[in-house]
């Protein structure tokens, strides 16, 4: 499994992904699921992937190859003129890879499916965030639904729904994502640290913060332990039910 979240804020975009992949509980590995294409001053694009690892790696390799050898192959993610074109390109590539695998060779028990988040900004446009389906089509984040999750989304959703605020700072947003990831990691063996993070400030056209939160990161441990206590305290302050009043 996997857990990735992209948050759209008024100040920009924040991305977080875990790095655990598994084929059964006895076959786990660490793989990066966050990828970036930056051209400082002109564009900054972040991609996060969930699903079949062979599929997502093939998609990233194709996007990568096409962005490096522009003269040979087009289109390239570095030449798309808008984030909509980027999402279309990623969607088409994903669809192509899945159908290539599905049509030929041995069939797998599990599908070759994958889901991808794409966000960023290209000069001349706004910062935008998309979720791309295995079919290659996609939806865009909006004021009403300002964040997307892919992978193991359920455990970490309630806190996002309750505490997300479009006006929040990047520092608060990273805290929110860590709480959401911590709830997921505590419940699902197939999601784990290290976590990759990227923060994109709108209209910067470059990404100033790309970093990894490692297994024993002191801030993560502080949030993980602090959140348990904070939750119990918040819970304790709510009024108890009163069976005697029934």
């Amino acid at each position: 499994m996997t857990y990735c979240v992209g948050l759209m804020l008024n100040k920009g975009l924040v991305f977080m992904s875990d790095t655990r992949t598994n084929a059964g509980v006895d076959n786990i590995s660490t793989f990066r699921k966050m990828f970036a294409w930056d051209e400082p001053g002109e564009r900054s694009i972040t991609v996060m992937t969930a699903g079949n690892l062979a599929t997502t790696q093939a998609v990233i390799s194709l996007l990568e190859e096409r962005s490096k050898a522009v003269e040979h192959r087009s289109p390239s993610i570095l030449k798309c003129e808008s984030m909509f074109q980027v999402a279309t390109l990623v969607g088409d590539t994903l669809k192509e890879v899945i159908s290539d695998h599905a049509d030929e060779g041995q069939q797998a028990d599990s599908g070759f499916n994958a889901t991808i988040l794409v966000g960023g900004q290209i000069k001349g446009g706004k910062h935008r965030l998309f979720m791309i389906y295995p079919e290659g089509n996609f939806i865009e984040a909006s004021e009403d639904t300002p964040f997307f999750q892919i992978g193991e989304t359920k455990y970490g959703r309630p806190i996002l729904v309750r505490a997300y605020d479009p006006e929040m700072s990047f520092d608060e947003a990273i805290k929110l994502l860590l709480v959401s990831f911590d709830s997921t990691i505590k419940a699902n063996l197939s999601v784990d640290l290290p976590l990759d993070v990227r923060v994109y400030a709108k209209d910067a056209f470059q990404c100033d913060h790309t970093f990894r939160i490692e297994v024993n990161d002191p801030y993560y441990l502080e949030i993980s332990e602090g959140w348990g206590g904070a939750l119990r305290e918040a819970f304790g302050r709510l009024p108890d039910f009163d069976l005697d009043a029934l």
Copy 2:
């Protein structure tokens, strides 16, 4: 979908279930998923069901029928000598119903599967809680895993994991379950009020509290609204990340 939780406490057992069933989002109904067999002074047994409604209703009807006409059919849930025997009986009945449906007649796209929670106490034994699988086998709650969830379990799990305490009072336990149900109801259309509740105090051998929390229950609304605020407050008290310190 469905959401049911059984909590094992040092003081006894608390059960909560929702009442929404659906076959697609355009076909929703309200059905009871909590059932009880009481013989005051001798036994109190609670059953909660999740899964295919035709399967769970058949299981309950069979258990019911066999408990009413003991001379005709055996075994009966009211005659089992231990909670282990009750769990075995429910498991056997579930397996029988599923295999009857699966073997004959038209095949359905979705399976006829169901999962069942059974808890209670019979004179001479302790209060116990079991989770029964579609195959008819089952597991029992213990100190290490003192609660079971069935149905849509993920959204409401983090708060149970964090705030459950075997020493908690029934009033606190009902509050905890309502927070867990509220997180689930907010995220999944297929889980909804009214909620059925049963509270069994150990060694009482009768159930003193069986009630329903209706859609506009003022305590539920207080918890639902209060929890959002309490969460945001708890979240606000945790230290923010510090991007500048990177």
